[in-house]
Symmetry: C2
Subunit: 453 residues, 2 copies
């Protein structure tokens, strides 16, 4: 178990107009948050005032929803949002210490572009950038990139492993002090400090060097959220930050041990990466207020959205009474059995109507939902953290902006009061603020033993 004497880390995991599928419908919500640049700048400044470690931008490169037809789709929020890499340039300009992590897919990108854009953002932001490595899961994304179907899981991870290596290799194109810019002698860089990658692998051939200097952080922070075996291996080998969806401390603890248990074989210290589960908080000054808030947003889940979510697991249920039980004669569906049986059991045991069932399965998309007072939410966060099942949390704002500001205004001060969360940024770069080491350039690493002999 990890050292629990320290303080927990807090990121914000933000998407379009909020995590809750009906959050945008609340009277106080900004329904157009996904495309409101002024709001995002305001939220970034508020996050920095709250000493949050980073803003994490979930992303997909398609309209990805459960809806089967355009009519059902038209009731879904979270359709539109800024492209993260372009957004980060803008948000980094209105902040000084807040970190930013953007999602980019290894399945539908080229490593040179990714290495260059993240390196560029790391320079633009003064070392406050991270890359969330994803392999993309949706068929809709494949269809936007000249593929007929989605690449299978193993192939995606094979490509991802090589992709991350190429990107890190490109970030090492130049040693930190390669650019001497000697005006008198006319020499712009020291040629001994340029390293041409010349990668030739199974998926990529990339010569290099990158056409910009090594990132201020050495490597931007690398985040990963894969929970499968190959996902955990990739995380254990390459990730600084591991994002996960866990609903209870037992599951979180098992995952923590499973992924950190793999670090040794890659020569990494367990402390060299942070495991941060997602939580979606709904905060009230009293428990009644919090529960009323939650009930109100749950009731706003449109039946077309709820039924589309259930359709992934159960097929089309639209001909049944929403307030009646799950029918006995459910159609057979391929490949969802393991997910379906527990839900059927839950529905039967709790005597849930179809409406009640979709309310249970929507919301935080498999992450922990914490509905309560600042104290009760802090209690849960503290207990997880002290039990050593996580190093911090990714806060998923259910809607914007109040769903986020409530957390800053009410929960953060409570965590600070308990000494669980900082009251000022410790450093300048995201790595410094997360307590993560700055990767040395391989040439510097190689040179080090000689110097110390």
């Amino acid at each position: 178990m990890k050292d629990t004497t320290g303080q927990l880390k807090l990121g914000l995991s933000l998407v379009s107009n909020g995590t809750h599928p009906a959050g945008w419908r609340l009277p106080e919500a900004n329904a157009a948050a996904g495309m409101d640049i002024a709001l995002w700048k305001e939220m970034a400044k508020a996050a920095e005032a709250a000493c949050i470690h980073f803003m994490f931008l979930a992303d997909g490169i398609a309209v990805r929803t459960a809806a089967k037809d355009n009519d059902a789709l038209s009731y879904s929020g979270r359709i539109d949002q800024f492209e993260p890499l372009t957004l980060l340039g803008a948000l980094s300009g209105v902040t000084d210490r807040l970190g930013f992590i953007a999602t980019a897919s290894t399945t539908y990108n080229e490593p040179f572009h990714i290495a260059r854009k993240f390196a560029s953002l790391d320079h633009i932001s003064g070392g406050r950038i991270g890359w969330n490595v994803v392999t993309s899961w949706s068929e809709a994304e494949a269809l936007n990139f000249s593929r007929d179907k989605h690449m299978e899981h193993g192939a995606r991870y094979g490509r991802a492993e090589e992709f991350v290596d190429v990107v890190r290799g490109l970030w090492d194109s130049w040693e930190d002090d390669a650019f001497i810019r000697d005006k008198d002698g006319g020499r712009y860089f020291d040629p001994a400090k340029m390293h041409v990658l010349d990668h030739k692998g199974e998926h990529f051939k990339v010569k290099g060097p990158l056409n910009l200097a090594r990132p201020p952080q050495g490597y931007p922070v690398i985040a990963q959220a894969g929970s499968s075996e190959p996902g955990q291996e990739l995380a254990a080998r390459t990730a600084d930050l591991i994002y996960t969806a866990k609903r209870d401390p037992e599951g979180a603890g098992q995952f923590y041990e499973s992924v950190k248990g793999r670090f040794a074989k890659y020569g990494r210290a367990r402390s060299s990466a942070l495991v941060m589960p997602g939580i979606m908080p709904v905060v009230g000054k009293t428990m009644e207020e919090a529960e009323a808030k939650y009930r109100r947003v749950q009731e706003l889940i449109h039946p077309k959205v709820g039924l589309a979510m259930l359709a992934r697991t159960f097929g089309d249920l639209s001909q049944y009474d929403l307030d009646g039980p799950l029918p006995d004669d459910l159609p057979e569906l391929d490949g969802v059995k393991s997910h379906r049986e527990p839900l059927i059991r839950m529905a039967r045991e709790n005597n849930l109507s179809i409406r009640e069932l979709y309310m249970r399965v929507t919301g935080a998309a498999g992450h922990m939902q914490l509905c309560g007072t600042p104290e009760s939410i802090a209690d849960t966060m503290e207990s997880w953290f002290r039990a050593g099942v996580c190093d911090g949390f990714n806060i998923m704002a259910p809607w914007f902006p109040d769903g986020l500001y409530d957390f800053f205004d009410l929960v953060v001060p409570e965590l600070q009061r308990r000494g669980l969360f900082r009251t000022a940024y410790e450093g300048k770069t995201l790595r410094e603020n997360l307590g993560l080491p700055r990767p040395a350039h391989p040439a510097a690493k190689a040179a080090a033993p000689v110097e110390t002999v």
Copy 2:
């Protein structure tokens, strides 16, 4: 010939630490300009104060120089710069009216990424973004993208034509008023106003829709600089802005007529696009001062840089006396003959040394260099503009920041005094400020005749 009663348009064509290969070596130059975000923000603000139309970011996705070995390469400036799309997010945040045009290659990108990133930036900036469509010319870029060699010219343009169509189709994924976000009814968008592209072409299969709203400008401004036949065709069919390298008004006029002469066959008005040649100004308060400045920077061209530039045309000349003539026994080189003969003739006729020859061929990379007083530079610009051979100019700053500020401080006021340049922005978006129409959505266009019958 075009209507010359109006005012000329001014863009800035900026790259790394300046256009002149030795500009970075000047004592007053910021040699690290390519990676100095504070400087770029300052330059953007200064450009806006000067009422400049846009900042145009040239770009390549490789270290692209003439140098044959790492030693020669190490004497080249312009190695490192921010990636344009990430930079524009940051620069748009410190300005309100200045436009921004970023280069992105159709050869080494996917249309969905390009459509999405430029649309995102157009939203982030409030409609001030443009895309400079390039097909990439360097072998070095191919080697960074898993290719063994550069795609040939015709194939590149075939791909580019389809690429631009797919991008424009994706920008039309949603009608301008598609997102209704009806909180009461729960409907987020009007499904009749979503348009799934479902493109299936020779190079791409792209389903769509794009996961964000139609750009504020309808389409971001499209810029193009191809001067070949396929380049001019692509420009005539799709470009709003045409960038070109012309050293004299006759050549500029021929190009102007050649490209605008193609507009009619695509159903476009000649006024629907702007032709803007590049010029590199070196400004002095007197002619003597300007010439001294220019001589000073020319003399700073390192022989290794000059010889590398000549080597592209003449092969390795490093064994000859720099201050002696071009040797008679020049080695034969493939594929450069047409470029080589005029240079040999120029060298012989003017009795140029090797050093003098490389000084002539470096500098503004084929663009017009204007070394003079504010009055003499304005005279040339005015004469080109009034002759109807261009609609404005792209100013290539020879070094940063003074090479740019001299133009703002000295030449812009002179142009304004003559009534040739505006003293305030007319509109909010880049299209508005360039006097270019906002493309209507195809569905709105289709509907229009019905309404007016």
